[in-house]
Structure formats: C-alpha cells, structure tokens
Amino acid sequence: MSMPIDLRNKFPRIADIHSKKTSDRDDYYNCIAWAFKDNQRNWWPNHKQSYWPVNASNLTTMEAFEAWFTEDGWEETSEYELEVGYEKIALYALNGVPTHAARLLDNGTWTSKLGRYIDISHEATELEGPKYGQLHKVYRKPISPTS
C-alpha cells in the first residue's frame, strides 16, 4: 500500500503519526473491529462488504452503531479516562456521521486502527480534525471476568 501524503492536514493534532505506530498496515481489519478486539475482520453496519454483529440498514448512521453498543452492554459516559472495572470505546463523527472508533488501553492511552492503514497509540482528542471530525461520544462497559 502506498504511503498516504499530507498527514498533517488530515491529523493536525499529531506531529508525526508514524512515531505512534504500533502495527504494520493491512486490510484485514478496520477501526471498529479493532475497537472490539477483532483483528481478523472488517466491521461496519454494512452487510454487503463487512461483518456486523446485529442486523443493520447498511447505512453509516449513529443509530446503527449505538444499536450494537446498546445490544452489547455499552453505555454513554462523560469520563474519558480510565475507570476501575470498565473498558471504554470512543466514537468519532464528522457532521454527525460516524467515521472512526478507538479503544482505551490499560495504560490510559487509546489505540486505533486507522482505516486500512496502521495501528497507533494516541490521546483521545488527537485524531480530531478534517478526516475523522470530532470525538463524538465515549462508551463504557463493565469488564466481565471473561473479557
């Protein structure tokens, strides 16, 4: 895969995105799959090309994402930091349309698969910009003994 250019234009809050890289690039999984700890499939509420755990209208809407989050036991929270007993996922949106998801790690940083590109470790708001829009909502879910 060729190297995307103009990264500072896409992610103006990150000086050097490659310094945050934690994996090589590949097409095997995308951001929302990685948020749900799956590195073998592409997830999206679009059954034509992607895996999605529940029925979806094949439209990229906040409702489609939230339907799954609710089904899977996630609740919205205003707390972006680590909380004992909870795992967290952040959802980004541009003009109200979901664009990206990230997962909070045990060390307090967030991990993201950038589309078809690489995984990075980052702060929650560092990905805000023209590509992914704004950090829209953070969801939390009690950590189960088996997770």
Binding site: S2, I5, Y28, I32, Q40, W44, Q49, S50, H100, R116
Partner: protein
Amino acid sequence: MNYTRPVPSIIGSAAGRFVKRRPTSSKSSGTYQPSRSDFIKSFYAVLRRWEGETAFYSDPEKITKHSSYKAMVENAPLIFSLIIDELRVKPSLLVWVLDDAFNMRPYDSSAVGNIPKMTDAWIEWADEHAN
C-alpha cells in the same frame, strides 16, 4: 450464482491482449503502441492511488465510491488476473472489486468481512476457472 457481467474467459492473458494499435501524435518518433508492461503499470498506478487515498477510511461506502475503485470494477475482466496475482501476494479489499464487478460471491455469507477467507475463495475460484 448470478452474473451481471461475463465471467472473464481471459484469465491469465488479459494484460497481454490489451494492445492498442492506434497511432498517436503524442510521440514525435513514429507510432506509440502500449505494451503489456504499460498496461500492468497503469493497473498498479490506479491501485496505489486507491489504496493511498482511501487509507484512512473504514466505511466501505467511502472506499468503494473512489474513482479508482470504479475504474477497476469497470475493467475487471481485463485486470482479473492482475487482481488475483495481487491477492496471492496479500489478501486485501481488492476482493470487493471482484464482488462488485462480477456480482457473485464464491464464499459463504459467514465469510463476509473476513478478507483472508474472501481472498482464498476468489483465488480458488480463479484457479478452478483458469483456461
């Protein structure tokens, strides 16, 4: 399986057949005749542009509405063997090009989203239907 587009009967030789013999004035020394390597280079130029310009998207709609993606779908019978060769090197979203171009899926619905499984199925299908 339903086909809306003819299944490529030129697997393995498509690129070699794509030789235009039309003279052009763009070269000052005689006629220009694109070669097989020109065709292959053009495929990879389109492919790399698509990969680069959709690198940060997860939304399939954004990835598949790119002009380079549409160009590959429209020319899929010609570039089928090149796509399969590329998939043999590394599973990728090129399987979506084949899905859309030939309106068929040589894999079970449970494999949707699993790019390695979708890739394996298309490679197997190509091998079974090779001339």
